[in-house]
């Protein structure tokens, strides 16, 4: 890190190779979606290498890198949350009065639910969301219930990791 901060380009590859898996794994723990984790890890490393010339040799290099990654994860999470809210998606409400552990658990569940929703077909996803919002389409109610029941079954199977999971 000190060598790279001093302009020694030969130190770039070893540092990147060492940091990428660590920062990625760290981001994966923060974010449920692996693509988000990759994005956060990438942004964190871009920021780190952009400011590496300011690196203070007295500091712990790994702690510095993970600090940037944590900040990027939080930013990405907030950005996604805001996007969901502005897109009018159904927010799975977390009780703000709950303790931090409970809140974190609720957020995790929210992320899992959203992830499973993303694995469903567009029609199934629409049905499940309608069900969650307590909406009904105009027309044949019996057909809707039948289709909803099938969509919910697929949702549950994906949730529990059943045979339809693949």
């Amino acid at each position: 890190m000190i060598r790279l901060a001093d302009g020694d380009r030969t130190a770039f590859d070893p540092i990147f190779t060492a940091l990428w898996p660590l920062v990625l794994r760290f981001s994966e723990r923060f974010l449920a979606d692996p693509r988000d984790a990759e994005d956060a890890a990438q942004t964190a490393l871009i920021k780190l290498f952009s400011h590496i010339s300011d690196f203070d040799p007295e500091r712990d290099a790994l702690a510095w890198a993970l600090g940037i990654a944590a900040y990027e994860c939080k930013t990405l999470r907030k950005k996604k949350q805001r996007r969901r809210e502005t897109a009018g998606e159904v927010p799975i409400e977390a009780d703000e009065r709950a303790g931090p552990e409970s809140l974190a658990s609720q957020r995790e569940t929210e992320a899992i639910v959203r992830e499973i929703l993303s694995t469903l077909s567009e029609k199934d996803r629409e049905l499940v969301l309608m069900h969650m919002e307590d909406r009904r389409p105009p027309g044949d109610d019996a057909t809707f219930r039948k289709r909803l029941s099938r969509a919910l079954r697929r949702f549950k199977l994906n949730f529990t990791g059943g045979p339809n999971d693949a």
Binding site: G7, Q42, I46
Partner: protein
């Protein structure tokens, strides 16, 4: 590596973007020395130097400062010390310009010339002292010396060719002996 493979592999994409960010960061680092050289050029212009001359030296000095900072290593470390050491030969003639001439034993000399030589001596002394703490002390001295001389030339043109040569010679004469006489410290960087 092929572009399509870079786009597909997140690690390679991140590596490429991080490398670009690193190079951009190094260039950004050169901004401060570039601003300093701009200030020096403005001082030179305020001395009434020819704009073309001051502009050309200032531009060259800025380019060297940015290049050294961007590349890093010993020359990169010598940029700020070099520019700081270049301030005496830049400012001494400026401070003495209103005094005019001094006369001894029947002949008169410009005080600017004296300002340039003494500025060069101070610059060399400072650079020599700073270079003693470096592992590659002569590389540091040469890199810093180039920048100090460039900065000095911006101020010493008012003393003519004699002022410029005197300043450069004084810089070398006061810095090299310091390095030759001082032992290399064990903790040198």
């Amino acid at each position: 590596m092929h572009d399509s493979r870079i786009a597909e592999d997140p690690k390679e994409r991140a590596r490429l973007l991080a490398r670009r960010a690193y190079e951009r960061g190094r260039l950004r680092l050169g901004l401060l020395p570039a601003l300093l050289t701009l200030l020096f050029t403005l001082i030179s212009l305020s001395l009434g130097r020819e704009p073309l001359y001051s502009g050309a030296i200032g531009l060259g000095l800025a380019a060297i400062a940015v290049l050294f900072t961007y590349r890093g290593g010993i020359p990169g470390r010598a940029v700020l010390p070099g520019l700081v050491a270049g301030m005496p030969p830049l400012l001494f003639p400026w401070a003495l310009r209103s005094v005019g001439h001094y006369c001894t034993s029947g002949s008169c000399h410009s005080l600017c010339l004296l300002g340039c030589v003494s500025g060069g001596l101070v610059a060399g002394f400072l650079l020599g002292k700073w270079a003693t703490n470096q592992s590659a002390r002569y590389t540091f001295l040469a890199s810093g010396g180039i920048l100090a001389t460039g900065a000095g030339l911006l101020g010493c043109t008012m003393a003519g060719a004699a002022g410029m040569v005197g300043m450069s010679a004084a810089l070398v004469l006061s810095s090299v002996p310091i390095l030759m006489l001082s032992p290399t410290p064990s903790g040198a960087r």
